[in-house]
Symmetry: C2
Subunit: 718 residues, 2 copies
């Protein structure tokens, strides 16, 4: 890639960013877009008033930038929870790392790279015509003493990153503990989930659970709530909700056509009052629902799993940590998620079934990750010009214009890849949900890991070793040759990844701000539905989509900082954009759907360690290739030390993210001992894990409007 | 190797076995050998009487065979504990496997192998001149349909082994639980070990531990016993013991010279009464010891570790299973070993130090395992004839005799290898003891694993890929090529391993019976010391030496059963010998030193699974090599299924071997609730984990002999 091409790309993308920012500044002030840009504020009632038109609304203003910038960590913690704080710290962490690496890279390594003459095509009179390779390590002369500067930079950055990682882990652990100490009593702290309950014939699951825990935990056991198979119910509730909304809409708007003929597509038959018709349907549905609910709760639709609540946090933790039953596959305990976080849809109870579905999902994920590019390449192949001409003959004349054909051949494959990539996070989330996790947070955490490795494999390694998936796998089956192969292939892709950061990174950040897809959905939906604030669903941030992206850019930065330091300024711009944009979105758009209290951090830590070790492997290969074997020998201890550091962190900090210690739990329990509010809390705890699908719901028109909305808010998203 | 050579080897080794058996039958009846052959019975007082000479004592009799054969599992369990039962079950398990594989191998595969003519040197007129290769799979024609018979045999044996493994795991788990339910209350069930106790300045470790557990476990905490640094004390006690023995010996034998001049090597100076002299020395030593003991107990020689006892098994288990402290590196809990099983010598307390020493030991083990053969080969190289002639010129005339030189060149390298190998189990035990384990059982378990992998690497892989260690490692760095390389190399070593089973296996079994080394030690020591039954130390079986050997023969059997089924009869003879001999030794010789209640079984299980997967890898390679790629494709699911089976067993059974469940613990606690003996037990529990080096010991002559021996028995081997 030439410097001029990069500059063009930077220009276009900077323009796009400025455009997005400006548009956002204007559009966010239009009341009709409030649901897209400030749904959280709307839901909280802070932005409800529909202001009348004035000129200010059409002038872009940077006020939101100031708000986002000023937001302190305490405010973020109180408004969006610890997970959002951790998410923002991932970005600030990356900023710190790449500021440090950037200073070294731009002011030390870049001049060294340029001063070499291994690639003798440097044209000082016209910089923009130079290949970008001039700025990479490829330009340093073989065996040059200057390579020791790269060597020192590798050590410096590794030490700096490890130092930061340690402090970040420590800080987030302390935050997690502080969060626990300051939190109010919450149902999930007192509850565990028990699966694979062995049911003796003639008794219900609830009786079995009750019997077992009353026998072995008589002093701490409080109650249990058996899980039911309620997929059918959930569908019924969904239907009822839809019907109810249509009814409300019809009633609220008297201009609407309210009659319909009841046969032959509304053409003949007698006229029916739609409001009456839907009202009747809704009543039937509700009757059906009530029957179904009573059937489910009493007649053996029980799953062999139950939420078991205890009288103290320590009691719940003791039951969770110990193996309960003589047979390790029975009475399997798990920490309970928050009630709002429970994923009710998939409750596989049997030990064997869960194990097998987990295996199947793991295999499916590996296959998807490894073989993903094959269908993509096939589809891309189908879209070459001659194919298109055959399929869509009317395009023939258009395709002869060279610019059009260039855009199509140049852009279409990328677009296809992008579209395929967009589907990955939902697919991974779906696969994780099949794996037997019981909470949305666990599912997203697992999906986050899957998407991360998917991205690293299908973008980093697939670009670097641009061969078939099988030849890629072959490289990893010969671990000895990995460094040398990486050393040849990685620097060659430097300009591709620089462009990738500019195009994919910058665009993704600004489209996050602009919320392209929700905006379009809202624009399309607006003419057909009436806005109804009560039904506004505030979105939650998709950690499994955003964290892997940030981590992947981190990986690019760490692996390329000494190969092609030119990538660093662009990365810094990306992280700055991300910093301000995500803070803004956390204030205005996203509301937390659950609170894991920082459990995403270990994923970030592992990914950083992997990036470092990958960078070391590349360095070993590069120094060998550059005929400086001594340097490659001296790099060797670095990955070992890094892995040891990681091992130490696993022992020192990871347990804090897995479970709370006896000390913390007992201290917290003692704090509550004298609290008179606890009696009420325990009363509520008994029904906290009631499946929302089993709660009575009434939409029928004979109740008043206010009481109608309550059950809607109670029922969690299914 | 020719058939005749094998027959010779079998002849020689059978002769040796018969000789050993006969000699044993005679020697075990001589009272002077009781300490060697029936130390356990002697210690239990069952074989104390020194019978007078009679002719019967010189005639070999098979009575012991009958006793060993008749021994039932219940008797073994009650006399030698569950570990001995598990050990015997390893042998019976192998017998079952190789009976099944033997029937298939000898009656199905062997004829098929012989019927091939890939190696066209079959000489039917003179079987003994044939190469053993005729009986191996190498003789089957390439692409022959007969290879499907091997294929079916592989499936049959894998399924059979997995079936047996499952049942064995299940049986031993049930035995383990039954043992727990029927066991008397034991100190280690009520105790945990706490390490890395953070000591606040100004208070002792004991106070800290007391404070912590009284605060967080007020209802179940009983007492604590802080560990002290007592290596110096142990040396003093050792000296005192030696001195005391000498004194006893001098006093008991009035014919002995009791005077000695006190200077110039006893040549000049005034005569000293030795009894008085030693008596004085002993008194001084004891005074010293008492001072030292009081110093150790009171003045800060405390290690930051303590045994913490609880009032119930469940209480101890709950404290063990939960992380105690906010900082995961403090208050690290472990299950306590039995008091007799504690390894007092190495009590490193700090988290970091233990972690680092563990890392160092792991690295040392890997280096020792991988590079072991290098010094051996060097030493073997030094012993060639010309070197020997230079070193020991007087041998020159002897070495010219061809038989002598043949024996030396043929036997010396093997002898050197054997001597080096003999040192491995103690070295591994030593390394394990540095790793921070707190009990002899943990150390032996860890050493058992280390010796097993050492043996597999240095005997199996080193023989198969007879190159340097580095070229061996290279093979494993290219995992893709492992099957094809194994397929070429493994069958080529068939005759070597058949001979290995006959020579090393049979000899090791019969020398175990004959107890060669203890016999020689006893023969040498006998003239100098007087037998003293009270001091007789009953040996314990070295699981870390014997289990790896048995498992290694199992690995040979499983990997070679379809390649060279001729190995199976010899293996069966080995296991039969082992069966009868080890039963005999468990009755007569070995007393249990600890009881892990079957914790060695998972090692056996893992080793069998590894053998199966290795066999599958070889099969994949062989079928490809033999031009039957379809078979090698169909073998492929087998290792995957085997590993899944292993994974299932890990989930289903392994937890039972790690810790007891809440259900079992609480049930067992309830059984004891009404027992009036418990009060006394708890009284004793408080001091059960007192370091024997800190207990008062008196050997001085002013006490009577009976009371002298008690402390000796109290103090565990150091």
């Amino acid at each position: 890639m030439l410097v001029s091409a990069l500059l063009t790309s930077v220009g276009i993308n900077s323009g796009l960013c400025v455009l997005f920012f400006t548009l956002y500044s204007i559009l966010r002030k239009q009341p009709s877009n409030y649901e897209v840009y400030v749904p959280r504020l709307v839901a909280e009632g802070k932005s409800k008033g529909k202001s009348y038109f004035n000129l200010e609304r059409l002038i872009p203003s940077p006020g939101w930038l100031k708000n986002a910038w000023k937001l302190s960590e305490e405010e973020l913690l109180s408004s969006s929870g610890l997970d959002a704080v951790v998410f923002m710290r991932v970005i600030t962490f990356s900023l710190k790392v790449f500021l440090f690496a950037g200073v070294i890279g731009i002011f030390v390594i870049l001049p060294v790279n340029c001063s070499g003459d291994q690639l003798d095509n440097l044209d000082l009179t016209n910089l923009s015509n130079n290949s970008l390779d001039v700025f990479t390590i490829s330009n340093v002369n073989n065996g040059s003493k200057n390579l020791w500067i790269h060597f020192s930079a590798i050590y410096a950055v590794t030490i700096f990153v490890c130092y930061l990682l340690y402090h970040e882990y420590k800080y987030i652990s302390s935050k997690r503990l502080a969060y626990f100490y300051s939190s109010k009593p919450q149902p999930h702290q007192f509850t565990i989930l028990v699966r694979s309950v062995p049911v003796s014939s003639g008794s219900s699951v609830s009786e079995c659970v009750d019997g077992f825990f009353k026998e072995y935990y008589p002093s701490t056991y409080l109650s249990n709530m058996v899980v039911h198979r309620s997929n059918k119910l959930r569908n019924l509730i969904h239907d009822a909700k839809k019907l109810y909304r249509r009814l409300i809409y019809l009633r609220s708007d008297p201009t609407q056509r309210k009659y319909q003929r009841n046969c032959c597509f509304g053409l003949c038959g007698r006229k029916v009052d739609l409001v009456d018709h839907y009202g009747k349907q809704l009543e039937d549905l509700e009757e059906n629902l009530r029957l179904e609910q009573s059937g489910v709760s009493y007649a053996g639709q029980e799953v062999q799993a139950a939420f078991v609540s205890f009288k103290s946090r320590y009691g719940a933790a003791a039951a969770f940590h110990m193996r309960q039953s003589i047979n390790p596959t029975h009475w399997v305990t798990e920490e309970a998620p928050e009630p709002r976080d429970v994923y009710w849809a998939f409750f596989s109870a049997s030990f064997m079934r869960r194990w097998i579905s987990k295996l199947v999902v793991v295999v499916a994920c590996i296959l998807l990750t490894v073989l993903f590019l094959i269908p993509v390449v096939v589809v891309q192949g189908l879209t070459n010009l001659s194919q298109l001409e055959i399929w869509l003959p009317f395009l023939k004349s258009l395709l002869t214009i060279s610019i059009v054909s260039q855009v199509i051949t140049g852009y279409l494959p990328n677009l296809i890849l992008l579209l395929f990539l967009k589907t990955v996070p939902p697919i991974m989330e779906f696969l994780s949900s099949l794996q037997g996790y019981i909470s949305h947070s666990e599912i997203e955490k697992s999906a986050c890991n899957k998407v991360l490795w998917f991205t690293i494999w299908n973008i980093f390694f697939a670009s670097v070793f641009s061969g078939s998936a099988l030849s890629q796998i072959n490289i990893f089956l010969e671990p000895k040759n990995i460094p040398s192969k990486l050393a040849v292939a990685v620097p060659a892709q430097a300009s591709f990844f620089i462009a990738y950061v500019v195009t994919s990174g910058w665009t993704s950040a600004s489209s996050e701000l602009f919320r392209v897809i929700p905006l379009f959905c809202s624009l399309i939906k607006r003419p057909f539905t009436e806005s109804n604030d009560d039904e506004l669903e505030v979105p939650s941030i998709s950690y499994h989509k955003d964290i892997p992206r940030i981590l992947f850019f981190g990986l690019l930065g760490i692996t390329y900082f000494f190969l092609a330091p030119l990538i660093l300024p662009f990365l810094l711009v990306y992280f700055c954009l991300g910093y301000i944009i995500f803070r803004n979105q956390l204030i205005n758009v996203y509301a937390p759907r659950y609170e894991t209290a920082g459990k995403f951090w270990p994923i970030v830590h592992n990914s950083m360690i992997f990036s470092l070790v990958l960078m070391h492997a590349i360095a070993v290969g590069i120094f060998t290739l550059k005929k400086l074997p001594k340097a490659s020998t001296f790099v060797f201890p670095l990955p070992i030390l890094t892995l040891l550091f990681n091992e130490y962190c696993r022992k020192r900090f990871l347990p804090i993210f897995v479970a709370y210690s006896a000390e913390s739990l007992i201290k917290r329990d003692r704090q509550d001992e004298g609290d008179p509010a606890m009696a009420k809390f325990f009363q509520e705890l008994v029904t906290a894990y009631q499946d929302p699908a089993l709660m009575p719901i009434r939409y029928s028109p004979d109740t008043d409007t206010d009481s109608l909305h309550r059950p809607l808010l109670n029922s969690a998203p299914v």
